[in-house]
Subunit: 455 residues, 2 copies
């Protein structure tokens, strides 16, 4: 029980009881409960007990029946660029370098501003809610605008303060990036759902001086650092050419290799690198679909988990994925790890589920608040309907979730107790308005530059 | 125009016009048409013309509006074992050998019979229709029972006559397998949707003598041979030990390496092997998710396509995938090919679409009938609604289908002109009955042997 959940004279008034058929709380590990109920009050999980006990304990509670469903912790998307959803499918089937330099960056240069960020983020969050995601870790320009959208629709987020040596519509120089970022950190102190990260774009695009400031602020304020790292071989080559050392050595020298670092991609790792990551407590954010699609390389997930590195899952932006679907990402992560390692036992279904829930919470420094269904944590929850033919028959609930279920089966989502998806319907986002805006951006972006839109 | 589609006094009576927003007919290659209509009559495609022309040409036709949709050829699942859908998730996260010998085969030995096959197939076809599949290529016992189910629900199928040296509930010895198979071939001569293949299980489980008979019948009757081949390294080792030659040499010596061979899996291929496949016209059936999940190996898709080998896609059975979702399979195939080859341009979205449509038709010897939307072919069609947030904005239709859309968006499916999925509702399958049967099998199978059902 938390302080907000103490029984009163009329137990259960103001309290909601969710009755799923199956409960996979992620903690304790590997357990599937049947006919258990979760009580939530003022946004928090206040009790987990058998269904029959819960009816006696809280006779006045509002009841929500999920007779054919599994209730899970809400999913955590540990790396994305939500506004880039407006660039979904804008440029496909090309290498990272061509994709970025010839297509994505020119379009961003022309169009990115507060409206682009707000409209793209709303579209992204609509998609994420419909896929069970309750928390995400973002890196983009105009984090202030993104924060406003998150507050409005009710999603939990770590929002990156972007740091890059080039000027941008959001900030004229690196001092301005820091200044605005520190202001956001202050402004959001009392926000229940929002926190910042420092998000230097990548070692190749950020100076030593900037990274030193990041390291200092990160330590002083206990704020995570969110960084693209070792996405392709080229990153190592560039570092050796310009800094005379491997990127990991450079980051170590700059005091960034520690448990506040969220290292995204990590497709270029030696056995020694993996040991170093394990020892320093760095979190790895694995984005398998984006890495495959851009032919960046393959993150050695199995070896990382074996070494004890905390690995969470990210979709990356919709411009390189092209969806924000963590269930599909978890399936890809598990299958790819087996295929690449040659070991069908590598990354089992429960480990895949952990990567999209508790491991994400750990990486984002939110483990005390979310990532599992435990008394005292926020009610960040996701229900999946298992009754459709695609998930029948049902022998193992967690296997079915990872290997057979799709996001079409996500029926209900709660963030901090607020039901943002109710029987498949978004309650805080006007879908028609959001897709209408997307259509307007499509018209503007389609006409940009010398684009030929192939099939 | 086919002979059935000649204009009459009152043009369009008895004729249906489908008006999708986008039409991707697959042939001609790479073309996306907007505001075109497809006219179907007596199960055939009789005309493709602009929407305005079609209204003038067929004023009496029944019209079906698909205002936000893309119309595609129905998908072709070129390798599956439909009845095994009842074993979906029965045993996961283990190597092929353990999975087969300790879990799947004992369960099959106990339970496989006409009822298992019929109930599993109906469940599988329900899932396939809901995912846009109009044709599949099966390998299992009781092909006669499977054929009955296909006729009842209206799906196109190549149904394998299983050939294996061990006796089974369906056949007592190899002569009986052949005898029953040849009878099916005769019985189905006038069936519009059904044909057989000869389906020897794998080189390691079938004798030279049986394979010689298969080669002879295949040539005499012009019937494809459907065979698991080079699924793992062990297949080569076994062949060298028992036959002194590599499996491809053995098959060549037995006159099986030709354009009637559907070689499924093919994860163990040298450059020389790939040349030989290209020269001999063998079709490769790629099952990427099953190969990854069982850690069997990775089929070199990019090299095969470059060499000019026809590669189609299969889901394999739901016991090793664990779904029958070709859209997801095509996405995995495209992403994996890029990741493994290190070339982001490998296997673009259109090639992935071809693999799940026209290439499947070619492999199954059904190219004149299905696999593309062309006048004179059967009306095997699939419509995908692109209006939801997951596929907005929309720059490239085919990219969006392969990289962003999911089967939840498949709205309508026609097989030979019969609308088997109508605005998301199955018209020939009673979903409640099908999932009810699955639930009964679940109870029986869960209690079998010394099973511990982990989470």
């Amino acid at each position: 029980m938390t302080e907000t959940g103490a029984p009163q004279d009329s137990p259960g008034s103001g309290l909601t009881l969710i009755h799923p058929r199956y409960l996979v709380a992620v903690r304790p590990q590997g357990v599937v409960l049947e006919e258990y109920s979760v009580a939530i009050e003022q946004g928090m999980i206040v009790s987990i007990m058998s269904r029959s006990e819960s009816a006696q304990a809280y006779p006045q509670a509002e009841s929500i029946e999920l007779a054919e469903h599994v209730l899970l912790p809400g999913f955590i998307n540990a790396h994305t660029h939500t506004p880039m959803t407006l660039l979904r499918g804008y440029a496909d089937d090309m290498d990272l370098d061509v994709w970025l330099r010839e297509h994505i960056w020119p379009a961003e240069q022309e169009f990115v501003g507060p409206a682009f960020v707000a409209d793209g983020a709303r579209l992204a969050i609509a998609e994420m809610f419909r896929a069970g995601t309750t928390c995400f870790n973002d890196m983009y320009f105009f984090p202030d605008v993104l924060g406003e959208v998150c507050r409005e629709v009710g999603i939990r987020a770590r929002i990156g303060v972007p740091l890059i040596e080039t000027q941008n519509a959001w900030a004229s120089d690196i001092d301005s990036y820091f200044e605005q970022g520190l202001k956001l950190h202050e402004d959001w102190r009392s926000e229940p759902l929002l926190n910042i990260t420092f998000s230097p774009h990548a070692p190749y695009s950020v100076s030593d001086e900037t990274l030193r400031r990041v390291a200092a602020y990160s330590q002083e304020l206990d704020v995570p650092v969110h960084l693209h790292l070792l996405e392709t071989k080229w990153d190592i080559k560039h570092s050796l050419q310009h800094h005379d050392v491997h990127p990991l050595v450079r980051l170590k020298n700059l005091d960034l290799l520690n448990s506040r670092l969220l290292a995204v991609h990590m497709t270029q790792l030696s056995a020694g690198d993996i040991d170093q990551l394990a020892q320093s407590g760095v979190h790895v954010i694995h984005c398998p679909q984006s890495n495959l699609k851009l032919a960046s390389g393959i993150c050695p997930l199995d070896s990382l988990l074996e070494a004890g590195v905390n690995v969470a899952l990210g979709t990356d932006g919709a411009a390189s994925n092209n969806d924000l679907d963590l269930l599909s990402e978890a399936q890809t992560a598990a299958l790819l790890a087996k295929g690449i390692s040659g070991n069908a036992q590598a990354v089992d279904a429960f480990q895949a589920l952990e990567m999209m829930t508790i491991n994400g919470a750990k990486a984002l420094g939110l483990e005390s608040l979310t990532g599992s269904i435990e008394v005292g944590k926020a009610a960040d929850l996701c229900a999946i309907d298992l009754s459709c033919p695609e998930t029948q028959p049902l022998y193992h609930v967690v296997s079915q979730v990872i290997y057979a279920a799709s996001r079409r089966q996500v029926s209900d989502v709660w963030v901090s107790g607020r039901r943002v998806l109710d029987s498949g319907q978004l309650t805080t986002i006007d879908l028609k308005e959001v897709t209408g805006k997307a259509s307007q951006w499509q018209s503007r972006l389609s006409g940009f530059g010398n684009r030929k839109n192939p099939a």
